[in-house]
């Protein structure tokens, strides 16, 4: 089977510091990849290079079999034309730790915004899609509220609906529950789990080991910009890990 997305020797440095250091990764359609690792290890940066929010310094990316996001010019890797990057981003959804809902738009307008502005859909149609997506995350009753009046968990569910409205082929979750009060984490995880069941391809950065174990096909432990270990949840959680650093991280979290 052809992978949906392939990363090859991706390097991203801030000054001298390599936030992502020579990472390669291939994700199949429908695969759920969970990335764990201490803070500052480059998890967010890796997600951001995937949809070109952070341009990588070297490496290669292929999406659905085709080179994506970057082109070689005079032997140097540069971001592709803005138009192509925008097109790529419509195919890769992203959900942020801080939700980043648009506060000046109602919940429904938040979800409609992408289809209307980016895909050029008519407003009535986009509204219909939006209501569908809000239904999926259990937020259809809040369509005309504004984000400021929602709880964190509700905001994050709207953010997921907003990503879904673009009909993406995969979704990147960057610590989707880290900004939530503990009692609100469950509703967001349930929403993500439901997407998993429907076969969405996902990369999820999280510190919640229980969730990782439940949802992941592949778990990756990242430290100092590199993958230190990679395996199934069983490899990680059901037996002692070979690598003492990974084991001590997991122990600390549990």
């Amino acid at each position: 089977m052809q992978p949906l997305i392939e990363l090859e020797n991706v390097v991203k440095a801030f000054g001298e510091h390599r936030a992502v250091d020579n990472v390669s990764l291939s994700i199949n359609k429908g695969e759920k990849v969970v990335i764990i690792g201490p803070s500052g290890s480059g998890k967010s940066t890796l997600l951001r290079t995937i949809n070109c929010l952070e341009p990588m310094d070297s490496g290669a990316m292929r999406f659905a079999g085709k080179p994506a996001g970057y082109v070689k010019r005079d032997g140097k890797l540069v971001p592709d034309k803005p138009k192509n990057i925008c097109a790529l981003r419509t195919r890769i959804g992203m959900v942020f730790q801080q939700f980043n809902l648009f506060p000046h738009m109602s919940v429904a307008r938040n979800v409609m915004e992408g289809p209307v502005t980016v895909l050029g859909e008519s407003k009535p149609r986009a509204r219909e899609t939006a209501m569908d997506m809000l239904g999926k995350v259990g937020m259809e009753g809040f369509a005309d509220r504004y984000p400021a009046s929602l709880s964190g968990g509700q905001k994050q569910r709207v953010a997921i609906a907003r990503a879904l409205a673009m009909k993406p082929e995969m979704i990147l979750f960057d610590e989707p529950t880290s900004a939530l009060d503990p009692e609100l984490v469950g509703e967001v995880f349930d929403t993500i789990k439901q997407l998993a069941v429907e076969g969405m391809t996902m990369v999820i950065v999280t510190h919640n080991m229980g969730f990782a174990r439940e949802i992941a096909d592949t778990v990756i432990f990242m430290e100092n910009g590199s993958f230190l270990a990679k395996g199934t949840p069983a490899d990680f959680f059901d037996r002692q890990c070979d690598d003492p650093r990974v084991q001590s991280f997991i122990d600390k979290i549990f």
């Binding site: 419509t90 809902l101 648009f102 992408g114 400021a148």
Partner: protein
């Protein structure tokens, strides 16, 4: 005593105008103003060959003495007795006006001046309003363009916009207006007062608003731009749909401040031959030396700034409402 008065009167009646004038003069010199007035009032209207000047003099003198003693009604009587004989005497007429003026209570005078000056001031303020509305329309657009240029990341555009702000924010508006109106003809560009004023105000306020708008844009959480771009929006779409609408509530208070300042700054264009509220007030004041004109002009400015303040306060509440909903 009564006898003495009677005697004096009989003697006076018999006296010639010249004699009356002389005795009135003596009474004045002696400090007996009442007696002097009596004598002046007795100077008869001249017959055909009589001395007109002497009669006019005498009655005016009587009127002035009454006025000096704050007996305004009697001053009027004296002038009227003169006007009866010479209805067209200009001196008497204007003096009568002055006395009537002095008799008027202060509030009535104020009312009269107001009715007299306000129409001209309002006419002048139409031009002021035109300048204000034009600048309010143009400067946000100019300011937005300059702000976007500043943060565009394109070095040339960024530097040009920085330069524009540097020039127009760093020199007095008055000087800029002089340059445009008096200076540009030196390089062959001659502008009429109105375009000069509009260009000067437009550029100056664009430069000010540019910095407000830039700081407004930069105050929006970085996550907003990322979220917009992550869903596939271009930089332009993200700016237009997501970032700029959110700046409104941030920039509205400082922009209101600028627009209030603008209302007052339009007074500066009176120096480049524009006839607006300030210039009108100046002209009326120079013609009348009546300070009420200046107070009235102040009131008109105050009225404008007040209306604007309230209008923008309402707008502010509307624009920021999504934070509470």
């Amino acid at each position: 005593m009564a006898l003495l008065l009677l005697f004096l009167c009989t003697v006076a009646r018999a006296a010639s105008p010249d004699e009356l004038m002389r005795r009135a003069g003596d009474a004045m010199a002696a400090g007996d103003l009442d007696a002097a007035v009596e004598l002046y009032m007795q100077v008869p209207a001249p017959d055909k060959n009589g001395d007109e000047g002497q009669f006019v003099n005498a009655r005016m003198q009587a009127a002035r003495l009454h006025f000096a003693l704050k007996r305004f009604e009697r001053a009027i009587e004296a002038v009227d007795s003169l006007l009866e004989v010479y209805p067209d005497n200009i001196e008497a007429k204007s003096y009568r006006g002055a006395v009537v003026d002095a008799m008027m209570p202060e509030w009535k005078k104020l009312l009269r001046d107001t009715v007299h000056f306000v129409p001209a001031l309002l006419k002048g303020s139409l031009m002021t309003l035109l300048l204000v509305f034009f600048t309010m329309l143009v400067s946000p657009i100019g300011g937005l363009l300059i702000a976007l240029g500043r943060i565009s990341g394109i070095a040339a555009a960024s530097r040009l916009c920085w330069f524009i702000i540097w020039i127009f924010r760093g020199t007095p508006l008055l000087l800029q207006l002089f340059f445009i109106y008096y200076g540009l003809p030196a390089i062959g560009i001659t502008l009429k007062p109105i375009p000069s004023a509009l260009i000067g105000l437009g550029l100056n306020y664009s430069a000010y608003l540019a910095e407000i708008i830039r700081s407004g844009i930069q105050s929006i959480d970085k996550g907003q731009m990322e979220a917009a771009q992550a869903m596939g929006m271009s930089y332009r779409q993200a700016m237009r749909r997501v970032i700029i609408p959110q700046t409104y509530r941030v920039i509205l208070p400082p922009v209101t401040n600028e627009f209030i300042a603008l209302i007052k700054d339009t007074a500066l264009v009176s120096t480049i031959a524009m006839v607006e509220l300030m210039r009108t007030a100046d002209q009326l004041f120079n013609a009348s030396f009546n300070v009420t004109v200046l107070a009235l002009a102040a009131c008109v400015y105050l009225m404008f700034t007040t209306v604007f303040t309230f209008a923008f306060e309402r707008l502010e509440r509307r624009v920021g409402a999504y934070e509470e909903r």
